[in-house]
Amino acid sequence: MADKNMPMREALRMALREEMIRDERVFVMGEEVGAWQGTHRVTRGFLEEFGEKRVRDTPISEMAIAGAAVGAAMAGLRPVAEIMTINFAFLSLDAIINHAAKIHYMFNGQFRVPMVIRAASGWGDQATATHSHTPEPIFAHFPGLYVGCPATPRDAKGMLKAAIRDDNPVLFTESIALYPKPGLVPEEDDFVLPIGKADIKREGRHVTLVTYARGVEWSLQAAEQLAKEGVECEVVDLRWLRPLDTATVFESFQKTNRCVVVEESLPYYSVGSEIAAQLQEHMFDYMDAPVKRVSAMDVPLPYAREIELMALPNAQKVVDAVREII
């Protein structure tokens, strides 16, 4: 089968649909996933195809959505719970962190929690302070949970299928800005990408750009521009914040000896902080320059377009950061 061009939302829909056909235990639940066809249209047509038993609209109850998914998963189902946007997952933090991520360990392996929480993430659309989060690093802080953040439609399909098939709880965030972006997607229904494996999105020998999700696009644009000046960037798309593929990052760094971390999230206690710490701890002898970080500005996000965009990372900020260490 050939690859097919489609936006990320369609790739996600394809993955979810294939897994529901493949495994009766897989079902979706969340706000507006059924009759409304999904806020982000990822579950479009599902209610008609799979029926009310497997496409379950919920009340606006984020604690119960995540918590009931935990219980259903423990009992043997494989829920894919949608939290409409990651901003509302703060209401589910206890169910995700204290329950989903801990139950397998706390009861010494008696229970498994094979669930996926899907949530739209990201900002830049004047959604204002409470609706403009990319808090994936908060979730990646906790052992027991996997955190996946795809950057392309192809990855979105392969990663979501892996998440659904895995026996561990996965927080899976989908960048709102990337939902409409097209890309080639394998049509095979056994296309599954391994959990915890990063991907080199562009090869280069001068600087390693470590990034994920929406940061991949900014990094690739920056690499394109810098290539014209003879600076070749290697773009490492982490894909998963947990497990974190430090091996791929280290391998690239050993070649380039320089690194810029690019992320949509806030700068403090971030993926940038973690990668910088890992590199200085394990790759000190290879280090030719300080690790730079390009991230959101350290402010709550405002409404007005002019100032919101000032806070958002972009390709030019990545170019500037690379120039500082070349």
């Binding site: 109850s61 219980g71 423990m74 009861f107 010494n108 008696q110």
Partner: protein, 322 residues
């Protein structure tokens, strides 16, 4: 409903006596620093509620509770040895010494655990009940709820979800009068907690005397049948905790109140019932008591002789590794 006969009553007596002995022993072991840690919440005084409610279930039904979980675990059939080993943090404990007092669980008994975040297990109960409906089974979930948990968001969201999804859950409030140190009347705008059922459009099965195991069994049996066939039910059991909230509790003076409740101690209530209905039962009860005291001593010995967890235990089961 199964006729309540003598063997059932004696079995309940056995379980209640075992729980009381187990908890008394835990109290002693904590003072001797053989059980350590900062959390231990004893079930003494609540035995009739746990035993009567669990007795109304089939083995394929499910039970889940909060952190005051020792009594529920034992009522559901957990071996006191593995329960005591967990209390002492040994690798032979039901949770390998990684869960402790608040995290007893036994998959083989469909006892889904004790949970330490107030209200945190309530949506889990809903999810477990969903699996039953989803797969066309008629198993129900019995979810214990502390009175304090009825004031947190989990209660509202989980009970409402059980209503809109018609889930087979028996929500059983153990109203022991206090959420930590705060009286129910101070914490709840509607202190008759069972009345909350009206807000969710679910079956309100009222209040039951939580000191009387027969009464608890009868009402929970009706609730289980209702949940199996129809949907969620809410019951409020009125009971009392003899040992306060937990071991880290500041002691507070409620001696008069405690004495009142001890007048209707669940074990004494059952003793009276048995003596009224059966002649010459005293010797049988004594035999049961001797056997259960021996069982608790054997449990302590087993736990003391067990090994502590190792480094391999520390790092295992973080993830499911295949």
């Amino acid at each position: 409903m199964a006729e309540i006969d003598k063997p059932m009553l004696l079995e309940w007596y056995r379980q209640m006596f075992l729980i009381r002995q187990f908890e008394n022993q835990c109290d002693v072991l904590y003072k001797e620093k053989k059980i350590t840690g900062v959390y231990m919440h004893l079930y003494s005084g609540l035995e009739a509620t746990g035993v009567g409610a669990v007795a109304a279930l089939r083995p394929s039904d499910h039970v889940i509770t909060a952190y005051r979980d020792h009594g529920i675990a034992l009522a559901r059939g957990m071996d006191p040895k593995v329960a005591m080993a967990e209390m002492m943090g040994k690798r032979t404990g039901c949770s390998g010494g990684k869960g402790g007092s608040m995290h007893l669980a036994s998959r083989e008994h469909n006892f889904w655990g004790g949970y330490a975040i107030v209200g945190g297990h309530l949506p889990l109960a809903a999810g477990i009940a969903l699996e039953s409906r989803y797969n066309g089974k008629d198993d129900v979930v019995l979810s214990f709820i502390g009175d304090g948990a009825t004031n947190n968001g989990y209660f509202h969201e989980a009970v409402n979800l059980s209503a809109v999804w018609d889930l087979p859950v028996v929500w059983l409030i153990e109203n022991n009068g206090y959420g930590m140190g705060t009286p129910v009347e101070v914490a709840s705008g509607q202190p008759e907690l069972h009345k909350r059922a009206v807000a969710y459009g679910i079956k309100d099965m009222g209040r039951v005397d939580g000191q009387n195991v027969v009464d608890v069994y009868n009402v929970v049996t009706k609730a289980v049948e209702y949940a199996r066939k129809k949907g969620p039910v809410l019951i409020e059991s009125l009971t009392y905790r003899y040992k306060g909230h937990g071991v880290s509790d500041r002691s507070y003076d409620k001696l008069a109140e405690l004495r009142d409740w001890q007048q209707k101690d669940p074990i004494l209530v059952l003793q009276d019932y048995l003596c009224k209905h059966f002649e010459c039962i005293e010797e049988e009860l004594k035999d049961i008591e001797r056997a259960e005291m021996a069982a608790v001593h054997a449990a302590v010995e087993f736990a003391e002789d067990s090994e502590a967890p190792t480094y391999d235990d520390l790092i295992s089961h973080v993830y499911v590794e295949e």
